[in-house]
Symmetry: C2
Subunit: 277 residues, 2 copies
Protein backbone atom coordinates (compact mmCIF):
# COMPACT_ATOMS: atom_id res chain seq x y z
CA UNK A 1 0.00 0.00 0.00
CA UNK A 2 1.58 3.24 -1.15
CA UNK A 3 0.51 6.86 -0.84
CA UNK A 4 0.69 8.53 -4.26
CA UNK A 5 -0.80 11.95 -3.43
CA UNK A 6 -1.24 14.06 -0.34
CA UNK A 7 -2.58 17.61 -0.10
CA UNK A 8 -3.47 19.70 2.91
CA UNK A 9 -7.16 20.52 2.54
CA UNK A 10 -9.50 22.44 4.85
CA UNK A 11 -7.36 21.67 7.89
CA UNK A 12 -7.28 17.95 7.07
CA UNK A 13 -5.56 16.01 4.30
CA UNK A 14 -6.69 14.65 0.95
CA UNK A 15 -4.67 11.58 0.05
CA UNK A 16 -4.63 9.04 -2.78
CA UNK A 17 -3.37 5.51 -2.17
CA UNK A 18 -2.66 2.56 -4.44
CA UNK A 19 -2.71 -1.02 -3.26
CA UNK A 20 -3.09 -4.55 -4.57
CA UNK A 21 -6.70 -5.65 -4.22
CA UNK A 22 -7.05 -9.30 -3.34
CA UNK A 23 -10.66 -9.65 -4.49
CA UNK A 24 -10.11 -7.76 -7.76
CA UNK A 25 -6.63 -9.20 -8.37
CA UNK A 26 -5.24 -5.90 -9.67
CA UNK A 27 -3.77 -2.63 -8.44
CA UNK A 28 -6.40 -0.12 -7.30
CA UNK A 29 -6.38 3.52 -6.24
CA UNK A 30 -8.65 5.26 -3.82
CA UNK A 31 -8.95 8.80 -2.51
CA UNK A 32 -9.28 9.37 1.23
CA UNK A 33 -9.90 12.66 2.99
CA UNK A 34 -8.77 12.57 6.61
CA UNK A 35 -10.24 15.39 8.66
CA UNK A 36 -8.05 17.07 11.27
CA UNK A 37 -9.60 14.91 14.00
CA UNK A 38 -8.52 11.71 12.22
CA UNK A 39 -5.01 13.09 11.67
CA UNK A 40 -4.84 13.64 15.42
CA UNK A 41 -5.79 10.01 16.02
CA UNK A 42 -9.50 10.21 16.83
CA UNK A 43 -11.37 7.35 15.17
CA UNK A 44 -13.85 8.99 12.77
CA UNK A 45 -16.82 7.53 10.89
CA UNK A 46 -16.29 6.81 7.19
CA UNK A 47 -18.44 7.87 4.27
CA UNK A 48 -17.88 5.90 1.06
CA UNK A 49 -18.51 7.71 -2.23
CA UNK A 50 -19.14 5.68 -5.40
CA UNK A 51 -18.67 7.54 -8.69
CA UNK A 52 -20.44 7.14 -12.00
CA UNK A 53 -19.57 5.79 -15.44
CA UNK A 54 -16.10 6.73 -16.81
CA UNK A 55 -14.90 8.10 -13.46
CA UNK A 56 -11.79 7.22 -11.49
CA UNK A 57 -10.98 8.03 -7.86
CA UNK A 58 -10.14 11.59 -9.02
CA UNK A 59 -13.52 13.00 -10.08
CA UNK A 60 -15.16 13.31 -6.70
CA UNK A 61 -12.08 14.45 -4.81
CA UNK A 62 -11.32 17.25 -7.29
CA UNK A 63 -14.79 18.43 -8.29
CA UNK A 64 -17.36 18.00 -5.53
CA UNK A 65 -16.08 20.28 -2.79
CA UNK A 66 -16.56 17.46 -0.28
CA UNK A 67 -13.55 18.26 1.91
CA UNK A 68 -15.16 21.32 3.54
CA UNK A 69 -18.16 19.21 4.57
CA UNK A 70 -16.00 16.30 5.71
CA UNK A 71 -14.02 18.62 7.94
CA UNK A 72 -17.09 20.29 9.42
CA UNK A 73 -18.59 16.92 10.37
CA UNK A 74 -15.37 15.11 11.29
CA UNK A 75 -16.00 12.37 8.75
CA UNK A 76 -13.45 10.44 6.68
CA UNK A 77 -14.46 10.26 3.01
CA UNK A 78 -13.23 7.37 0.86
CA UNK A 79 -13.61 7.55 -2.93
CA UNK A 80 -12.62 4.33 -4.73
CA UNK A 81 -12.23 3.79 -8.46
CA UNK A 82 -15.24 2.56 -10.44
CA UNK A 83 -13.85 -0.77 -11.68
CA UNK A 84 -10.82 -3.01 -11.65
CA UNK A 85 -8.00 -1.55 -13.77
CA UNK A 86 -4.98 -2.53 -15.80
CA UNK A 87 -3.81 -4.14 -19.03
CA UNK A 88 -4.60 -7.62 -17.67
CA UNK A 89 -8.22 -6.67 -16.83
CA UNK A 90 -10.98 -7.30 -19.39
CA UNK A 91 -12.29 -4.16 -21.05
CA UNK A 92 -14.68 -2.98 -23.75
CA UNK A 93 -14.41 -0.01 -26.09
CA UNK A 94 -17.79 1.36 -24.93
CA UNK A 95 -17.80 3.84 -22.05
CA UNK A 96 -20.58 1.93 -20.28
CA UNK A 97 -18.98 -1.53 -20.03
CA UNK A 98 -15.67 -2.78 -18.67
CA UNK A 99 -13.09 -0.49 -17.09
CA UNK A 100 -14.75 2.61 -15.65
CA UNK A 101 -18.09 0.77 -15.62
CA UNK A 102 -17.87 -1.93 -12.96
CA UNK A 103 -21.43 -1.35 -11.71
CA UNK A 104 -20.39 -2.32 -8.15
CA UNK A 105 -21.44 -5.95 -8.61
CA UNK A 106 -19.72 -9.35 -8.66
CA UNK A 107 -19.55 -10.64 -12.23
CA UNK A 108 -20.21 -14.32 -12.91
CA UNK A 109 -19.50 -14.42 -16.65
CA UNK A 110 -16.18 -14.73 -18.51
CA UNK A 111 -14.13 -12.71 -19.19
CA UNK A 112 -15.45 -10.37 -16.49
CA UNK A 113 -15.55 -12.78 -13.58
CA UNK A 114 -11.72 -12.88 -13.35
CA UNK A 115 -11.54 -9.33 -11.89
CA UNK A 116 -14.97 -7.67 -11.71
CA UNK A 117 -15.93 -8.21 -8.06
CA UNK A 118 -16.50 -4.57 -7.15
CA UNK A 119 -19.24 -5.42 -4.65
CA UNK A 120 -16.87 -7.48 -2.53
CA UNK A 121 -14.23 -4.76 -2.88
CA UNK A 122 -16.54 -1.92 -1.84
CA UNK A 123 -18.43 -3.72 0.91
CA UNK A 124 -15.66 -5.86 2.39
CA UNK A 125 -12.05 -5.51 1.33
CA UNK A 126 -11.89 -1.70 1.22
CA UNK A 127 -13.66 -1.04 4.57
CA UNK A 128 -11.44 -3.65 6.25
CA UNK A 129 -8.36 -1.94 4.84
CA UNK A 130 -9.53 1.56 5.79
CA UNK A 131 -10.49 0.51 9.31
CA UNK A 132 -7.13 -1.21 9.80
CA UNK A 133 -4.83 1.44 8.33
CA UNK A 134 -6.49 4.76 9.21
CA UNK A 135 -8.12 6.32 12.29
CA UNK A 136 -11.48 4.99 11.10
CA UNK A 137 -14.33 3.67 13.23
CA UNK A 138 -16.75 1.01 12.04
CA UNK A 139 -19.54 3.57 11.63
CA UNK A 140 -20.08 3.65 7.86
CA UNK A 141 -22.21 5.54 5.40
CA UNK A 142 -22.35 5.18 1.63
CA UNK A 143 -23.42 7.45 -1.20
CA UNK A 144 -22.77 7.94 -4.89
CA UNK A 145 -23.79 9.34 -8.24
CA UNK A 146 -25.54 7.71 -11.21
CA UNK A 147 -23.94 4.24 -11.56
CA UNK A 148 -22.46 5.01 -8.14
CA UNK A 149 -25.88 5.97 -6.79
CA UNK A 150 -27.03 2.53 -7.88
CA UNK A 151 -23.93 1.13 -6.19
CA UNK A 152 -24.62 2.91 -2.92
CA UNK A 153 -28.28 1.89 -2.74
CA UNK A 154 -27.63 -1.73 -3.71
CA UNK A 155 -24.61 -2.14 -1.43
CA UNK A 156 -26.50 -0.77 1.58
CA UNK A 157 -29.61 -2.83 0.82
CA UNK A 158 -27.58 -6.03 0.37
CA UNK A 159 -25.78 -5.57 3.72
CA UNK A 160 -28.29 -4.86 6.50
CA UNK A 161 -26.51 -3.47 9.55
CA UNK A 162 -23.29 -2.64 7.74
CA UNK A 163 -24.13 0.99 6.91
CA UNK A 164 -25.77 3.54 9.17
CA UNK A 165 -26.77 5.83 6.32
CA UNK A 166 -27.17 5.87 2.53
CA UNK A 167 -27.96 8.47 -0.09
CA UNK A 168 -27.66 8.97 -3.83
CA UNK A 169 -27.49 11.60 -6.55
CA UNK A 170 -29.22 10.74 -9.84
CA UNK A 171 -29.03 6.98 -9.21
CA UNK A 172 -29.79 4.21 -11.68
CA UNK A 173 -32.50 2.79 -9.41
CA UNK A 174 -33.72 -0.01 -11.67
CA UNK A 175 -30.84 -1.35 -13.78
CA UNK A 176 -32.92 -4.39 -14.81
CA UNK A 177 -35.23 -2.02 -16.70
CA UNK A 178 -33.01 0.59 -18.39
CA UNK A 179 -30.43 0.39 -21.23
CA UNK A 180 -27.28 1.11 -19.16
CA UNK A 181 -28.25 -1.51 -16.62
CA UNK A 182 -29.53 -4.20 -18.99
CA UNK A 183 -26.35 -4.04 -21.07
CA UNK A 184 -24.08 -4.30 -18.02
CA UNK A 185 -26.12 -6.96 -16.21
CA UNK A 186 -26.31 -9.14 -19.34
CA UNK A 187 -22.55 -8.92 -19.83
CA UNK A 188 -21.50 -9.40 -16.22
CA UNK A 189 -24.22 -11.84 -15.08
CA UNK A 190 -25.38 -13.53 -18.28
CA UNK A 191 -28.73 -13.48 -20.07
CA UNK A 192 -30.77 -15.00 -17.22
CA UNK A 193 -32.53 -11.92 -15.92
CA UNK A 194 -33.64 -13.52 -12.63
CA UNK A 195 -30.02 -13.21 -11.48
CA UNK A 196 -30.13 -9.48 -12.18
CA UNK A 197 -32.65 -8.70 -9.47
CA UNK A 198 -30.11 -9.03 -6.68
CA UNK A 199 -28.42 -5.91 -8.14
CA UNK A 200 -31.49 -3.72 -8.62
CA UNK A 201 -32.36 -1.26 -5.83
CA UNK A 202 -36.06 -1.25 -6.70
CA UNK A 203 -36.16 -5.04 -6.40
CA UNK A 204 -34.10 -5.07 -3.20
CA UNK A 205 -36.29 -2.48 -1.46
CA UNK A 206 -39.28 -4.81 -1.82
CA UNK A 207 -37.71 -7.39 0.48
CA UNK A 208 -35.41 -5.24 2.63
CA UNK A 209 -35.16 -6.49 6.22
CA UNK A 210 -33.80 -3.12 7.39
CA UNK A 211 -35.63 0.18 6.80
CA UNK A 212 -32.58 2.40 6.27
CA UNK A 213 -33.93 5.82 5.22
CA UNK A 214 -33.00 6.70 1.63
CA UNK A 215 -32.16 10.25 0.54
CA UNK A 216 -32.15 10.73 -3.24
CA UNK A 217 -31.57 13.99 -5.15
CA UNK A 218 -32.35 14.09 -8.85
CA UNK A 219 -31.92 16.97 -11.29
CA UNK A 220 -35.09 17.71 -13.23
CA UNK A 221 -33.07 18.75 -16.31
CA UNK A 222 -30.91 15.63 -16.27
CA UNK A 223 -30.70 14.26 -19.80
CA UNK A 224 -30.64 10.70 -18.40
CA UNK A 225 -33.68 11.11 -16.15
CA UNK A 226 -36.28 9.53 -18.42
CA UNK A 227 -34.28 6.89 -20.32
CA UNK A 228 -31.90 5.65 -17.60
CA UNK A 229 -32.73 6.82 -14.07
CA UNK A 230 -36.51 6.58 -13.49
CA UNK A 231 -36.62 7.57 -9.80
CA UNK A 232 -40.40 7.15 -9.84
CA UNK A 233 -39.84 3.38 -9.84
CA UNK A 234 -37.98 3.67 -6.54
CA UNK A 235 -40.70 5.93 -5.14
CA UNK A 236 -43.37 3.37 -6.05
CA UNK A 237 -41.45 0.46 -4.56
CA UNK A 238 -40.75 2.35 -1.33
CA UNK A 239 -44.37 3.43 -1.02
CA UNK A 240 -45.58 -0.14 -1.56
CA UNK A 241 -43.55 -1.55 1.32
CA UNK A 242 -43.32 1.53 3.54
CA UNK A 243 -39.58 2.02 3.06
CA UNK A 244 -38.60 5.57 4.13
CA UNK A 245 -37.51 7.64 1.10
CA UNK A 246 -36.86 11.34 0.65
CA UNK A 247 -36.79 11.91 -3.12
CA UNK A 248 -36.15 15.47 -4.20
CA UNK A 249 -36.51 16.57 -7.82
CA UNK A 250 -34.30 19.67 -8.15
CA UNK A 251 -35.59 22.05 -10.85
CA UNK A 252 -33.05 23.12 -13.45
CA UNK A 253 -30.23 20.81 -12.38
CA UNK A 254 -28.44 18.43 -14.75
CA UNK A 255 -26.31 15.27 -14.31
CA UNK A 256 -23.00 17.06 -13.65
CA UNK A 257 -20.76 17.64 -10.65
CA UNK A 258 -22.24 21.17 -10.50
CA UNK A 259 -25.43 19.43 -9.34
CA UNK A 260 -23.64 17.19 -6.86
CA UNK A 261 -21.69 20.09 -5.35
CA UNK A 262 -24.88 22.13 -4.97
CA UNK A 263 -26.60 19.60 -2.70
CA UNK A 264 -23.67 17.86 -1.04
CA UNK A 265 -24.25 19.94 2.10
CA UNK A 266 -27.58 18.23 2.68
CA UNK A 267 -26.17 14.75 2.05
CA UNK A 268 -23.37 15.26 4.55
CA UNK A 269 -25.92 16.47 7.11
CA UNK A 270 -28.04 13.36 6.44
CA UNK A 271 -25.06 11.04 6.92
CA UNK A 272 -23.51 12.91 9.85
CA UNK A 273 -26.75 12.69 11.82
CA UNK A 274 -26.69 8.89 11.47
CA UNK A 275 -22.93 8.50 11.91
CA UNK A 276 -22.42 10.50 15.09
CA UNK A 277 -21.64 8.21 18.05
CA UNK B 1 -20.90 35.31 -28.74
CA UNK B 2 -22.23 31.81 -28.05
CA UNK B 3 -23.03 29.94 -24.85
CA UNK B 4 -21.34 26.52 -24.94
CA UNK B 5 -22.18 25.27 -21.42
CA UNK B 6 -24.79 25.99 -18.80
CA UNK B 7 -25.33 24.21 -15.49
CA UNK B 8 -27.59 25.08 -12.60
CA UNK B 9 -25.29 25.56 -9.61
CA UNK B 10 -26.08 26.57 -6.02
CA UNK B 11 -29.26 28.33 -7.08
CA UNK B 12 -27.47 30.29 -9.81
CA UNK B 13 -25.97 29.19 -13.11
CA UNK B 14 -22.45 28.34 -14.23
CA UNK B 15 -22.03 29.13 -17.91
CA UNK B 16 -19.19 28.98 -20.45
CA UNK B 17 -19.20 31.34 -23.44
CA UNK B 18 -17.06 31.60 -26.55
CA UNK B 19 -16.59 34.83 -28.50
CA UNK B 20 -14.22 36.47 -30.95
CA UNK B 21 -11.82 38.70 -29.03
CA UNK B 22 -10.93 41.86 -30.91
CA UNK B 23 -7.75 42.59 -28.98
CA UNK B 24 -6.48 38.99 -29.12
CA UNK B 25 -7.75 38.37 -32.66
CA UNK B 26 -8.86 34.82 -31.88
CA UNK B 27 -11.76 32.89 -30.39
CA UNK B 28 -11.77 32.86 -26.59
CA UNK B 29 -13.78 31.07 -23.90
CA UNK B 30 -14.64 32.25 -20.43
CA UNK B 31 -16.59 30.83 -17.53
CA UNK B 32 -19.17 32.98 -15.79
CA UNK B 33 -21.15 32.11 -12.68
CA UNK B 34 -24.34 34.12 -12.42
CA UNK B 35 -25.82 34.07 -8.92
CA UNK B 36 -29.60 33.89 -8.56
CA UNK B 37 -29.77 37.66 -8.04
CA UNK B 38 -28.10 38.29 -11.42
CA UNK B 39 -30.41 35.78 -13.13
CA UNK B 40 -33.31 37.79 -11.74
CA UNK B 41 -31.88 40.98 -13.27
CA UNK B 42 -30.16 42.65 -10.31
CA UNK B 43 -26.83 44.14 -11.39
CA UNK B 44 -24.20 42.34 -9.32
CA UNK B 45 -20.50 43.11 -8.79
CA UNK B 46 -18.01 41.03 -10.76
CA UNK B 47 -15.00 39.14 -9.47
CA UNK B 48 -12.43 38.18 -12.12
CA UNK B 49 -10.37 35.04 -11.52
CA UNK B 50 -7.08 34.56 -13.38
CA UNK B 51 -5.74 31.00 -13.49
CA UNK B 52 -2.18 29.74 -13.54
CA UNK B 53 0.13 28.11 -16.07
CA UNK B 54 -1.43 25.39 -18.30
CA UNK B 55 -4.97 26.22 -17.20
CA UNK B 56 -8.03 27.02 -19.32
CA UNK B 57 -11.33 28.56 -18.24
CA UNK B 58 -12.28 25.12 -16.88
CA UNK B 59 -9.89 24.62 -13.96
CA UNK B 60 -11.32 27.18 -11.57
CA UNK B 61 -14.97 26.57 -12.39
CA UNK B 62 -14.71 22.81 -11.87
CA UNK B 63 -12.22 22.55 -8.98
CA UNK B 64 -12.37 25.53 -6.64
CA UNK B 65 -15.88 25.33 -5.20
CA UNK B 66 -16.34 29.04 -5.92
CA UNK B 67 -20.02 28.88 -6.82
CA UNK B 68 -21.21 28.45 -3.23
CA UNK B 69 -19.31 31.57 -2.18
CA UNK B 70 -20.45 33.54 -5.24
CA UNK B 71 -24.05 32.73 -4.42
CA UNK B 72 -23.72 33.64 -0.75
CA UNK B 73 -22.27 37.03 -1.59
CA UNK B 74 -24.33 37.75 -4.73
CA UNK B 75 -21.20 38.17 -6.85
CA UNK B 76 -20.70 37.24 -10.51
CA UNK B 77 -17.46 35.32 -11.07
CA UNK B 78 -15.73 35.46 -14.46
CA UNK B 79 -12.92 33.00 -15.24
CA UNK B 80 -11.19 33.66 -18.57
CA UNK B 81 -8.67 31.47 -20.35
CA UNK B 82 -4.95 32.05 -19.65
CA UNK B 83 -3.81 33.03 -23.17
CA UNK B 84 -4.97 33.49 -26.74
CA UNK B 85 -5.78 30.16 -28.38
CA UNK B 86 -5.94 28.45 -31.76
CA UNK B 87 -3.87 27.04 -34.60
CA UNK B 88 -3.11 30.56 -35.88
CA UNK B 89 -1.75 31.70 -32.50
CA UNK B 90 1.98 31.42 -31.76
CA UNK B 91 2.89 28.66 -29.32
CA UNK B 92 5.85 26.94 -27.73
CA UNK B 93 6.30 23.30 -26.69
CA UNK B 94 7.14 24.31 -23.11
CA UNK B 95 4.28 24.50 -20.59
CA UNK B 96 5.46 27.91 -19.37
CA UNK B 97 5.48 29.87 -22.64
CA UNK B 98 2.87 30.46 -25.34
CA UNK B 99 -0.63 29.03 -25.19
CA UNK B 100 -1.65 28.44 -21.57
CA UNK B 101 1.05 30.87 -20.41
CA UNK B 102 0.01 34.36 -21.52
CA UNK B 103 1.19 36.01 -18.29
CA UNK B 104 -1.60 38.62 -18.55
CA UNK B 105 0.62 41.14 -20.33
CA UNK B 106 0.76 42.82 -23.74
CA UNK B 107 3.58 41.30 -25.80
CA UNK B 108 5.74 43.58 -27.94
CA UNK B 109 7.94 40.96 -29.64
CA UNK B 110 7.23 38.82 -32.72
CA UNK B 111 5.71 36.31 -33.04
CA UNK B 112 3.88 36.92 -29.75
CA UNK B 113 2.72 40.49 -30.38
CA UNK B 114 0.20 39.38 -33.02
CA UNK B 115 -2.15 37.86 -30.40
CA UNK B 116 -0.70 38.05 -26.90
CA UNK B 117 -2.44 41.11 -25.44
CA UNK B 118 -3.97 39.45 -22.42
CA UNK B 119 -3.69 42.60 -20.28
CA UNK B 120 -5.95 44.55 -22.63
CA UNK B 121 -8.30 41.58 -22.80
CA UNK B 122 -8.55 41.14 -19.03
CA UNK B 123 -8.67 44.79 -18.04
CA UNK B 124 -10.70 46.25 -20.91
CA UNK B 125 -12.35 44.05 -23.51
CA UNK B 126 -13.69 41.37 -21.18
CA UNK B 127 -15.12 43.71 -18.50
CA UNK B 128 -16.79 45.80 -21.21
CA UNK B 129 -18.34 42.65 -22.68
CA UNK B 130 -19.47 41.32 -19.29
CA UNK B 131 -20.97 44.63 -18.23
CA UNK B 132 -22.82 44.96 -21.53
CA UNK B 133 -24.16 41.40 -21.85
CA UNK B 134 -24.89 40.32 -18.26
CA UNK B 135 -26.55 41.85 -15.19
CA UNK B 136 -23.13 43.13 -14.07
CA UNK B 137 -22.37 46.38 -12.31
CA UNK B 138 -19.07 48.26 -12.74
CA UNK B 139 -17.92 47.21 -9.24
CA UNK B 140 -14.99 44.91 -10.00
CA UNK B 141 -12.60 42.77 -8.01
CA UNK B 142 -9.78 40.61 -9.31
CA UNK B 143 -7.91 37.59 -7.96
CA UNK B 144 -5.94 34.64 -9.23
CA UNK B 145 -3.44 31.85 -8.64
CA UNK B 146 0.28 31.60 -9.37
CA UNK B 147 0.73 33.18 -12.86
CA UNK B 148 -2.83 34.39 -12.34
CA UNK B 149 -1.97 35.80 -8.93
CA UNK B 150 0.72 37.82 -10.70
CA UNK B 151 -1.92 38.80 -13.26
CA UNK B 152 -4.39 39.95 -10.61
CA UNK B 153 -1.85 42.03 -8.66
CA UNK B 154 -0.34 43.61 -11.78
CA UNK B 155 -3.67 44.34 -13.43
CA UNK B 156 -5.06 46.03 -10.31
CA UNK B 157 -1.84 48.00 -9.71
CA UNK B 158 -1.70 49.17 -13.34
CA UNK B 159 -5.31 50.42 -13.28
CA UNK B 160 -5.93 52.60 -10.22
CA UNK B 161 -9.64 53.04 -9.61
CA UNK B 162 -10.70 50.19 -11.86
CA UNK B 163 -10.86 47.48 -9.18
CA UNK B 164 -12.27 47.79 -5.69
CA UNK B 165 -10.46 44.73 -4.38
CA UNK B 166 -7.60 42.38 -5.23
CA UNK B 167 -6.19 39.17 -3.79
CA UNK B 168 -3.95 36.30 -4.82
CA UNK B 169 -3.07 32.71 -4.05
CA UNK B 170 0.61 31.74 -4.43
CA UNK B 171 1.34 34.64 -6.82
CA UNK B 172 4.51 35.16 -8.85
CA UNK B 173 5.13 38.53 -7.19
CA UNK B 174 8.43 39.38 -8.86
CA UNK B 175 8.54 37.93 -12.38
CA UNK B 176 11.64 40.00 -13.23
CA UNK B 177 13.58 37.99 -10.66
CA UNK B 178 12.45 34.36 -11.03
CA UNK B 179 12.88 31.76 -13.80
CA UNK B 180 9.21 31.52 -14.89
CA UNK B 181 8.95 35.29 -15.15
CA UNK B 182 12.35 36.00 -16.74
CA UNK B 183 11.73 33.44 -19.46
CA UNK B 184 8.29 34.82 -20.29
CA UNK B 185 9.21 38.50 -20.05
CA UNK B 186 12.27 38.00 -22.30
CA UNK B 187 10.17 36.23 -24.91
CA UNK B 188 7.14 38.54 -24.85
CA UNK B 189 8.91 41.87 -24.19
CA UNK B 190 12.45 41.36 -25.48
CA UNK B 191 15.80 41.30 -23.68
CA UNK B 192 15.65 44.89 -22.36
CA UNK B 193 14.77 44.26 -18.75
CA UNK B 194 13.73 47.85 -18.00
CA UNK B 195 10.55 47.16 -19.96
CA UNK B 196 9.83 44.22 -17.68
CA UNK B 197 9.26 46.33 -14.58
CA UNK B 198 5.82 47.47 -15.72
CA UNK B 199 4.69 43.84 -15.29
CA UNK B 200 6.19 43.11 -11.88
CA UNK B 201 3.96 43.56 -8.83
CA UNK B 202 6.90 44.27 -6.51
CA UNK B 203 8.08 47.06 -8.82
CA UNK B 204 4.56 48.44 -9.29
CA UNK B 205 3.83 48.58 -5.56
CA UNK B 206 6.77 50.97 -5.07
CA UNK B 207 5.07 53.67 -7.14
CA UNK B 208 1.38 52.80 -6.70
CA UNK B 209 -0.83 55.90 -6.58
CA UNK B 210 -3.66 53.91 -4.97
CA UNK B 211 -3.24 51.92 -1.74
CA UNK B 212 -5.57 49.04 -2.58
CA UNK B 213 -5.17 46.49 0.25
CA UNK B 214 -3.59 43.24 -0.92
CA UNK B 215 -4.59 39.84 0.47
CA UNK B 216 -2.14 37.05 -0.38
CA UNK B 217 -2.30 33.42 0.74
CA UNK B 218 0.72 31.20 0.22
CA UNK B 219 1.15 27.53 1.06
CA UNK B 220 4.25 26.86 3.14
CA UNK B 221 4.76 23.45 1.48
CA UNK B 222 4.43 24.84 -2.04
CA UNK B 223 7.24 23.41 -4.18
CA UNK B 224 7.45 26.70 -6.09
CA UNK B 225 7.65 28.93 -3.02
CA UNK B 226 11.42 29.41 -2.94
CA UNK B 227 12.39 29.27 -6.62
CA UNK B 228 9.44 31.07 -8.25
CA UNK B 229 7.13 32.86 -5.83
CA UNK B 230 9.18 34.71 -3.18
CA UNK B 231 6.33 36.46 -1.33
CA UNK B 232 8.91 38.04 1.01
CA UNK B 233 9.84 40.39 -1.83
CA UNK B 234 6.28 41.70 -1.92
CA UNK B 235 6.24 42.02 1.86
CA UNK B 236 9.44 44.08 1.78
CA UNK B 237 8.19 46.35 -1.00
CA UNK B 238 4.85 46.94 0.74
CA UNK B 239 6.54 47.66 4.06
CA UNK B 240 8.93 50.14 2.40
CA UNK B 241 6.12 52.26 0.96
CA UNK B 242 3.38 51.55 3.47
CA UNK B 243 1.19 49.61 1.05
CA UNK B 244 -1.39 47.55 3.01
CA UNK B 245 -0.70 43.83 2.67
CA UNK B 246 -2.07 40.80 4.47
CA UNK B 247 0.31 37.95 3.65
CA UNK B 248 -0.58 34.59 5.18
CA UNK B 249 1.78 31.63 5.04
CA UNK B 250 -0.44 28.57 5.41
CA UNK B 251 1.41 25.66 7.04
CA UNK B 252 1.25 22.35 5.17
CA UNK B 253 -0.47 23.64 2.03
CA UNK B 254 0.87 23.09 -1.48
CA UNK B 255 0.31 24.77 -4.88
CA UNK B 256 -2.86 22.85 -5.81
CA UNK B 257 -6.55 23.64 -6.06
CA UNK B 258 -6.95 21.86 -2.71
CA UNK B 259 -5.14 24.88 -1.26
CA UNK B 260 -7.21 27.40 -3.20
CA UNK B 261 -10.49 25.74 -2.21
CA UNK B 262 -9.47 25.71 1.45
CA UNK B 263 -9.08 29.50 1.70
CA UNK B 264 -11.48 30.74 -0.95
CA UNK B 265 -14.00 31.57 1.76
CA UNK B 266 -11.71 34.27 3.14
CA UNK B 267 -10.95 35.71 -0.29
CA UNK B 268 -14.63 36.03 -1.14
CA UNK B 269 -15.23 37.76 2.20
CA UNK B 270 -12.35 40.16 1.44
CA UNK B 271 -13.75 41.02 -1.98
CA UNK B 272 -17.40 41.12 -0.95
CA UNK B 273 -16.66 43.67 1.77
CA UNK B 274 -15.15 45.99 -0.85
CA UNK B 275 -17.67 45.24 -3.58
CA UNK B 276 -20.89 45.78 -1.66
CA UNK B 277 -22.66 48.98 -2.78
Amino acid sequence: MERVEQHASFGGRQEVWKHHSRVLDCEMRFGIHLPAAALQGTRCPVLYWLSGLTCTEQNFITKAGAQAHAERHGVIVVAPDTSPRGAAVADDPAYDLGQGAGFYLNATQAPWSAHYAMQDYIAEELPALVEERFAASDRRGIFGHSMGGHGALVTALRHPGRYRSVSAFSPIVAPTRVPWGRKALAAYLGPESDAWKAWDAVELVRSASERLPLLVDQGANDEFLVPQLKPELLAEACRAVGHPLTLRLQPGYDHSYYFIASFLHDHFAHHAAALSP
